[in-house]
Symmetry: C2
Subunit: 407 residues, 2 copies
């Protein structure tokens, strides 16, 4: 591979600057990645990407989550193509919508019903709307630093958003029971709900598993004040459990928000709720042009079928452990203090004492040059398509990258 021959990338960026604001926007802009990261991709297969100049990369971002089973997983592609041949966006939904809602409700322990949307932001927005419709109250408690989408109320960079649209959010510190109780006290009788990620997966900082006592306290406080508990599983869904990500710790939310992973890249998100909040969900008018389209639902059913046959969570956990252990040994050997946090299957990798991420950027760039796409400040994702051989190839590269930046 010769990353110097990036003539298509250079040309595409120049053209993009003219017709796309700042050349790119949103979470897939490479503006905050080291110079040298490709903005444009030509092709994907399994766990691999090819950039627009044909450079092959092992991808540890999985499209920022959606790629759970591998790009072009044959069972998902076959189901999607078969449904596409029948119909996708039509004047009403297909029967596959009912099949898919039933299967999701069967799969997700806390859920009695499902509503399908398109963006992760649609599902988190709908969840707080259900909470407010159910309680008749306004205040939603969210953790400082947690990302819940890029709608008016949630975008981390609210240029062009009136303060009024964000007035009813109150912050607590993730995993900090005292700060949660303070927030509950602060909102008093206007406490509508708690919206919380299943673990702390904030960008640019060390991630953290949820403290089990904290999660239970979320449930208790919601119950005590007739508020609603919402788990935002848009990012972590189906990589930690074949259920809501808090199922393993015995905390059932009233609502969960889903996206990304549901249909292995086909566009669909969903929010799932229990009987308690069903009337609230029925009171709202939310909709979208493509929310009833059948192809992503057929693809979502295929994902659940694959997950019935293969233990996807165990697979990504096993590979994540192989990667984490290997990196820990290498970092130690090369004399780096590497912070590996979050679940092993969604690794966040930062260097200690690296506030401007100079070391992290350099290391990631050395890996990129050698065909491994890591992210220097966002949690990464493993897929069913990654193999032990891919991890071993990755570890060969990371070792060389550590050596290179040590020099």
């Amino acid at each position: 591979m010769n990353r110097a021959t990036n003539s298509r990338e250079v040309s595409l960026r120049e053209r993009a600057k003219r017709v796309i604001p700042a050349g790119m926007y949103g979470h897939q802009s490479v503006a905050r990645l080291p110079e040298g990261y490709p903005q444009f991709f030509e092709r994907s297969e399994g766990c691999r990407l090819w950039d627009s100049d044909g450079n092959e990369l092992i991808d540890y971002m999985c499209a920022y989550g959606p790629n759970l089973l591998g790009y072009h997983h044959p069972a998902v592609e076959a189901a999607a193509a078969a449904q596409q041949g029948k119909g996708d966006a039509m004047t009403g939904p297909s029967d596959v919508m009912v099949d898919y809602a039933e299967r999701l409700v069967d799969t997700i322990g806390h859920a009695d019903w499902a509503v399908f949307t398109k963006n992760g932001s649609d599902s988190t927005s709908a969840c707080i709307q259900v909470a407010r419709a159910h309680t008749g109250k306004h205040k939603i408690l969210i953790a400082e630093g947690s990302y819940h989408g890029a709608s008016f109320w949630s975008t981390p960079r609210p240029s062009g958003v009136p303060d009024d649209d964000r007035r009813h959010l109150v912050r607590f510190q993730y995993n900090n029971i005292e700060s949660l109780e303070q927030a509950v006290a602060e909102v008093a009788d206007d406490f509508s709900g708690i919206l919380v990620t299943p673990y702390r997966h904030d960008a640019m900082v060390d991630n953290a598993a949820v403290d089990v006592a904290f999660a239970h306290r979320c449930r208790e406080l919601a119950d005590r004040h007739d508020a609603v508990l919402i788990v935002d599983d848009v990012r972590a869904g189906f990589r930690m459990a074949r259920d809501c990500s808090w199922a393993g710790i015995g905390v059932e939310p009233d609502l969960s928000a889903w996206g990304k992973v549901l249909a292995n890249g086909y566009p669909i998100s969903a929010h799932l709720g229990n009987e308690r909040v069903r009337p609230a969900a029925e009171s709202m008018f939310i909709t979208g042009s493509y929310w009833f389209a059948a192809v992503p639902m057929a693809a979502g059913l295929a994902v659940l079928n694959v997950m019935d046959e293969v233990d996807v969570v165990a697979h990504v956990e096993g590979l994540g452990t192989q990667l984490r252990d290997g990196l820990a040994e290498q970092a130690n050997r090369h004399g780096f203090d590497l912070h590996q946090t979050g679940p092993v299957q969604m690794p966040q990798i930062l260097f200690a004492d690296d506030p401007e991420r100079k070391t992290g950027d350099a290391w990631c760039l050395e890996c990129l040059k050698r065909g491994i796409y890591l992210h220097p400040w966002h949690n990464m994702f493993l897929s069913l398509a990654h193999t032990e051989a891919d991890i071993a190839q990755t570890l060969d590269v990371t070792d060389a990258a550590f050596a290179s930046i040590r020099r």
Copy 2:
């Protein structure tokens, strides 16, 4: 066709009631259509649908807009399948994103840049966000009764939405210059923008072409107060012009919102803007999991290619005229006062003195029983796949339906 054999529909509705709030939600719920309309569809082709019991229907809703060229248009399907084989949702966009942004900017006269999103609501929301970021002001003027999506600020049934989220909207009467000027005076120095549909296409009432003087006054008032003019072309786009729908009357907005029609059903929306508001667009963080996916962009390019080869607007206008003239003659002959409003290619059909739509519902149901899917209160849509023979077949049915309800 025997619509009595609707056993699958009955069974699907029962199952849906258990796992989907109210059995269905949003604009594709048949809750407000006459009993007998199918909720679920099995298949689509050209301008035809088959419901879940296999009944064939000529579809005048076109998936509520997206189906511009016909379901499964071969050029669009081929482009989408080819791109799907390469990659769709990846860790970054494909080069097709640049091609598509360039082509849209070339096609839409007022536009210098494009941002792709997923829902029509995403594009209208982004437009008012750009307006607010550009002006530093809050108030958005919208017409009473206009639909601009189902986000917190825009949903027509705001259950679960704090009043604060809708505080900065100010209403005027569509086509009423005096009420527009009053609204401008009311918001004074907090006037951020005007968001307006290209014609009045409100549900349940007669539709109306835009008054040209009114459209020019929108532009003048925005200019005078350093506010932003936004045309919401999500519903009407590419059926009135191969450009922004106001291009023909010489009024250029700063921003236009698009969706539905862009990729013939593949899920994509967009907002397009001029140089004046580009810095504002660059200041915002908006994003979505699937906004960078390549397949809908490849499909969108194919739509533009088809529109270069075939005069789609002339086609749907011609058929719309054939339908409108035929219906007018029949209504007159059968003694009904039929209100046919809106552009002929997006017909709104209501009966005079029918406030509960009893006549309209009965007529539409008679048409449905005979294989024609009309909508009793929402504007309809024609496509390139409809033919003169389809319209003639439709007119045979509508004639029989008039006769039936006259009895």
